[in-house]
């Protein structure tokens, strides 16, 4: 059995039990063990990087240290966590001088970053450890007739030199995973552009504008729903639709799913067990379409 230290981060436990729940259930079914380590903290994502880059590297490295001590690789569900931890991991592995500097800071907390572990996003674990073929065999309720718009968001793909998740210009992991579930992946314009999530709270109007464009393009392309892999993108596109409705008086009614939720459904997990009520845009029509 393959085991990973689960890095939950902040947004998922605070607001997206549905993402956590579907991921835990699907991975358990697929034979991936998740270990919950004590003393993890925030990953130090862009808001912390904005305040102080050195701090963010140290905080990310601290969390990687915990996984190193437990001799486990890390799995993240959130793209933000994936990015912060991967950037720190890759940067410090490559830069001895910076590593020494960060280790001086970490020594205050009794830690030392070694650079002995990998950080993986849920999707990479599905592709690398489970494999598309095996995954396909495990699908008991194929999502046939479902047209899904793959939405990567930014922080798994870029900066590609450090993250090495997929081809940043022509990624295919998510599309392949969607098609493995029996669904159809649909193309749409500006697919790889930002959801605006990180501008929420500083400039809501711009954030909604960016989300609106994604919703308009996916609707135009005839998608039934959007598949995301990041809690920020999920909020921007899901909750964003309510805000767009009230502020811009524009209705999309485009259900947004985490890929793990679609995966759970295809693996035959009862929708009732997935806390789908957390979705702001109702998911009923999709659930009925696939059952």
């Amino acid at each position: 059995m393959t085991s990973y230290a689960l890095f939950l981060g902040c947004t998922i436990p605070a607001r997206q039990s549905n993402y956590e729940l579907s991921s835990r259930k699907a991975l358990a079914k697929l034979g991936i063990e998740l270990v919950d380590l004590a003393n993890m903290t925030c990953c130090a994502p862009p808001p912390v990087q904005s305040i102080d880059l050195e701090t963010s590297l140290a905080v990310a490295a601290y969390n990687i240290c915990l996984a190193e001590e437990a001799d486990l690789n890390l799995i993240t569900l959130c793209s933000g966590c994936f990015e912060s931890l991967s950037i720190a991991n890759a940067t410090l592995k490559a830069d001895e001088q910076l590593k020494a500097k960060i280790n001086r800071i970490l020594s205050e907390a009794g830690k030392e970053f070694l650079g002995s572990k990998e950080v993986k996003h849920l999707l990479q674990v599905l592709v690398d450890d489970v494999g598309l073929e095996r995954l396909k065999q495990r699908v008991s309720k194929p999502l046939s007739n479902l047209k899904v718009a793959a939405f990567y968001g930014c922080h798994v793909l870029r900066p590609s030199e450090l993250l090495k998740f997929d081809d940043p210009e022509r990624p295919s992991i998510l599309e392949n995973l969607i098609e493995t579930l029996g669904a159809k992946s649909v193309e749409y314009r500006n697919k790889l552009k930002c959801c605006g999530g990180l501008l929420r709270g500083f400039s809501d109007d711009l954030a909604l504008d960016l989300a609106r464009e994604k919703l308009a393009n996916t609707t135009k392309a005839g998608a039934d729903c959007i598949a995301t892999l990041c809690p920020f993108c999920f909020v921007a596109l899901d909750l964003g639709q309510l805000q767009i409705k009230s502020k811009l008086n524009e209705t999309f009614d485009m259900p947004v799913f985490h890929y793990s939720e679609l995966l759970s459904l295809a693996l035959g997990i009862d929708p009732k067990e997935l806390a789908l009520e957390a979705h702001k845009v109702k998911t009923d029509k999709i659930i009925s379409k696939i059952s």
């Binding site: 210009e169 022509r170 314009r189």
Partner: protein, 806 residues
């Protein structure tokens, strides 16, 4: 050898020097030195009566070593040495020193100290002269034949020049037809005329006038009797030495006999295999048996072996009236001997599909400039009409994108230098043929240096071509209309544009031709950081490599426009001719020599030699010893500095000669200051000392200069010897690390100095007493400053006491 009889000749440079230096004291001093047979004093010794005096002394058998103190020795030495040689003495038994720039002028404020230093300088020259040995001049054969690799515009022109000069020339082209990039480019800027015309060869008796230019195919080029054209061939091996290389050529099968084919075209009519024509940007198809365009050279069909069905079809064989088609041809290897090799392999377009956001190779309506050139060419696949390849409809809106993969640190950091002009040329050609076309050029910076080049930019603006200052982030395609959208910011208008386009033309970086790396390995020459062939010196020896006999021509060194490639081609022809034209290579033996009895088995020197002059050869005792090729050795001494066993010496800078000089320079102080020995290379280092003197910059007379061929010759123990000889401080002055005349000598010396400083510290000697400097001629001020600073530092450090030393 006879007893050593040194003649010492002191020039006071028209009394300039005698106002500062006490010449009587100097003559008295020289008289006291053993081995001195004659002393002369005059106002000049490098010409006229003075020089005749030296010549007579030699002829009269009074002297057999010559020491001359003369100003501007780098000039005067040439005259003196030639005269000495004519007088019958080996010219390498002469030592010329500079009492003006190295002594009188920089120390004019302290004349008596300067006089003492002059004594030391004279003594050093005499001691060295006594130990000098005659150096022989060697003669090596040079074949009057040249291999030119690459049959583009540059290779063809240099081949004609050399053939006209009487050389036997072999022109090898990898592709089935000559012409290279030029042939595909259609037209050239700045003349806007055909790319495929050249100057006629001298052998073309009917058209030979100095103004004539001719299409390649009617220029008489292919009929030059001493020009052997080998298309569809490549160089697979080179061995031998400058003047006599043995080259192996592999000629791929053409399947059509060049001597029999009459170009009747029957074969292509019956050939059933049709494939997209790469040469013509896949805008048309061609048969498996084909020619690029009708007027190519050689004017013979070729069969594309990757698609031909050969004996399963053989329809062409049936129809060929001259039985020229030979389906069973095989690759053939042949060898030839040539005196020199010219690399003219050119460049090619960067593969734009690597930049995925531009969708080249993915969207058919995104093309490159070279592909567009085929459309502009009236003989091209569209007959001169600019079309959208996706549906062959005329393109009404054309957008050029500059710097695709060039000035791009992800791919090619350099500016390819010709792409702005190519796009301007193309934009104007489109606009003048089809004035209704909407043409936009997206650029980062428009670069048009060169005569008449700016006119193109001006004309383009006049014609209404739009310029957008911005590099597009992406080329999109509307899924419904299939039209292209260029997503770009115009920084000047501060506006985001989504330019609608029928056709997007990329201006890709120009990168080294395919196979450049392999060829460099075969020839043993270097590439620069961008992968182009590296010239010996960009400013002064732009067509030479560090290996004599191997030359570079045209775009092989960097992307070039046609005029520059032409210039390069004619220039390289002269360089190669100069080297080979007498049929022999004369080289003196100021080279390295190996003590075979204690050279053994290590492999340091062959690796270190920048010229590949050292090989390891087994001896009878079954161990390896270094062998030095006198032809390839440049006499830098880097191997001497490298050899851990002191088994290599330079014939003209032997350790005993250096030691004698060192001791002499340190034997007379005459100043109250600590003695400093400056060891400088004979290139930039020595000229920096010259220039400080010429400009009368002042530094103290305790600073004494010794010249070596290159600082790379120095060994760690020599620094210790200098201290032992009485130096309180040692300065090593070499060329800039990246400007060493022998490539790596300065770098080697830096390492040696570093190591010696560690040793000094171990011995309790302050490492600051030894320092390396890198200077060029114009940095005389730096030398004077450094000499001053070193002196002051040593004064602070106090006198150095070596155990048992002086």
């Amino acid at each position: 050898m006879d007893d050593v009889k040194v003649g010492v000749f002191l020039s006071d440079c028209g009394k300039q020097l005698s106002e500062i230096l006490d010449f009587n004291a100097l003559t008295d001093y020289v008289k006291s030195v053993s081995g001195v047979a004659m002393i002369g004093r005059s106002s000049e010794f490098w010409r006229g009566e003075g020089l005749q005096f030296i010549v007579d002394a030699i002829k009269g058998g009074k002297i057999n070593r010559v020491v001359v103190a003369e100003s501007l020795p780098k000039l005067s030495e040439v005259n003196i040495v030639q005269a000495v040689e004519k007088a019958g003495l080996n010219p390498y038994l002469v030592e010329v020193i500079d009492l003006k720039d190295h002594c009188a002028w920089p120390h004019r404020g302290t004349p008596s100290e300067a006089t003492e230093k002059a004594k030391a300088m004279l003594l050093a020259a005499i001691e060295r002269a006594k130990l000098l040995e005659p150096i022989e001049k060697l003669e090596f054969p040079a074949l009057k034949s040249v291999l030119v690799i690459g049959g583009g515009i540059a290779g063809m022109q240099t081949a004609i020049d050399l053939a006209d000069l009487g050389f036997e020339v072999h022109l090898v082209e990898k592709a089935p037809f000559l012409g290279g990039l030029a042939a595909r480019a259609g037209r050239f800027f700045p003349t806007d005329d055909c790319a495929i015309c050249i100057q006629s060869p001298a052998s073309d008796v009917k058209t030979i006038t100095h103004t004539s230019k001719k299409c390649v195919y009617r220029s008489g080029f292919s009929a030059i009797p001493n020009l052997n054209i080998l298309a569809n061939s490549k160089v697979v091996g080179v061995e031998g030495v400058p003047g006599n290389y043995k080259v192996t050529i592999e000629k791929k099968p053409r399947y059509v006999n060049e001597l029999k084919c009459v170009r009747c075209d029957l074969c292509t009519t019956v050939c059933p295999v049709e494939v997209p024509d790469e040469y013509n940007a896949k805008l048309k198809t061609r048969k498996a048996i084909y020619m690029n365009i009708p007027n190519v050279h050689p004017p013979v069909y070729i069969i594309d072996e990757s698609v031909c069905k050969f004996h399963d079809c053989a329809k062409c064989v049936e129809v060929c009236p001259t039985a020229a088609i030979e389906l069973d041809q095989k690759s053939e290897r042949s060898t030839m001997n040539v005196g020199g090799i010219i690399v003219a392999t050119g460049f090619r377009e960067f593969d734009s599909s690597i930049i995925k956001e531009y969708h080249y190779g993915d969207y058919p309506d995104v093309v490159t400039n070279l592909e567009l050139a085929r459309m502009i060419d009236g003989f091209g696949p569209t007959g001169g009409v600019i079309v959208r390849p996706s549906d062959r409809k005329p393109a009404k809106k054309v957008v050029f994108v500059q710097c695709v993969g060039s000035r791009d640190r992800r791919y090619n950091p350099y500016c390819s230098s010709i792409c702005c002009m190519i796009s301007l040329k193309h934009a104007a050609l489109i606009k003048s043929a089809y004035p209704g076309t909407d043409v936009t050029i997206c650029y980062i910076d428009i670069r048009t240096p060169g005569r008449e080049h700016e006119d193109y930019y001006e004309r383009a603006r006049e014609m209404g071509i739009k310029f957008v200052k911005g590099r597009p982030t992406e080329i999109l395609r509307d899924p419904e209309t299939n039209r292209l959208i260029v997503d770009v910011e115009d920084a000047l208008a501060k506006k985001f544009l989504e330019i609608d386009a029928d056709l997007v033309v990329l201006a890709p970086a120009m990168v080294p031709a395919e196979g450049t790396k392999e060829l460099a390995e075969i020839l043993g020459i270097e590439l620069d950081k961008d992968g182009f062939f590296k010239e010996y010196n960009a400013k002064l020896r732009p067509t030479e490599t560090k290996l004599r006999g191997i030359y570079l021509c045209g775009g092989a060194t960097f992307p070039k426009d046609a005029p520059t490639a032409s210039l390069h081609a004619h220039s390289v022809a002269i360089k190669a001719a100069k080297f080979l034209i007498t049929g022999k290579i004369i080289k003196d033996q100021r080279t390295a020599v190996v003590h075979e009895d204690y050279c053994g088995d290590c492999e340091f020197c062959p690796v270190t030699c920048p010229y590949g002059a050292i090989s390891l050869e087994p001896t009878s005792e079954d161990h390896l010893v270094a062998r030095i090729s006198d032809l390839l050795c440049e006499g830098c001494g880097i191997c001497v500095g490298t050899c851990p066993l002191n088994a290599i010496e330079l014939r003209h800078s032997r350790p005993n000669q250096m030691l004698a000089q060192m001791k002499a320079l340190m034997s007379v102080n005459g100043t109250s200051k600590p003695l400093v020995l400056v060891i400088c290379c004979s290139e930039c280092g020595h000229t920096a000392v010259d220039s400080s003197g010429m400009a009368m910059m002042q530094y103290p007379a305790n600073v004494r200069v010794m010249k070596v061929p290159c600082t790379g010759i120095l060994q760690v123990h020599q620094f210790l010897e200098a201290f032992k000889a009485g130096a309180q401080g040692v300065m090593v002055v070499g060329c800039k690390s990246d400007g060493c005349h022998y490539e790596v000598g300065s770098q080697k010396a830096e390492k040696k100095v570093e190591l010696a400083r560690i040793l000094l510290k171990e011995y309790g000697i302050d490492p600051e007493r030894l320092k390396m400097f890198n200077m060029v001629f114009i940095e005389g001020n730096k030398f004077a400053e450094a000499a001053q600073t070193m002196t002051e530092r040593l004064e602070k450090l106090g006198s150095l006491q070596l155990m048992g030393g002086s």
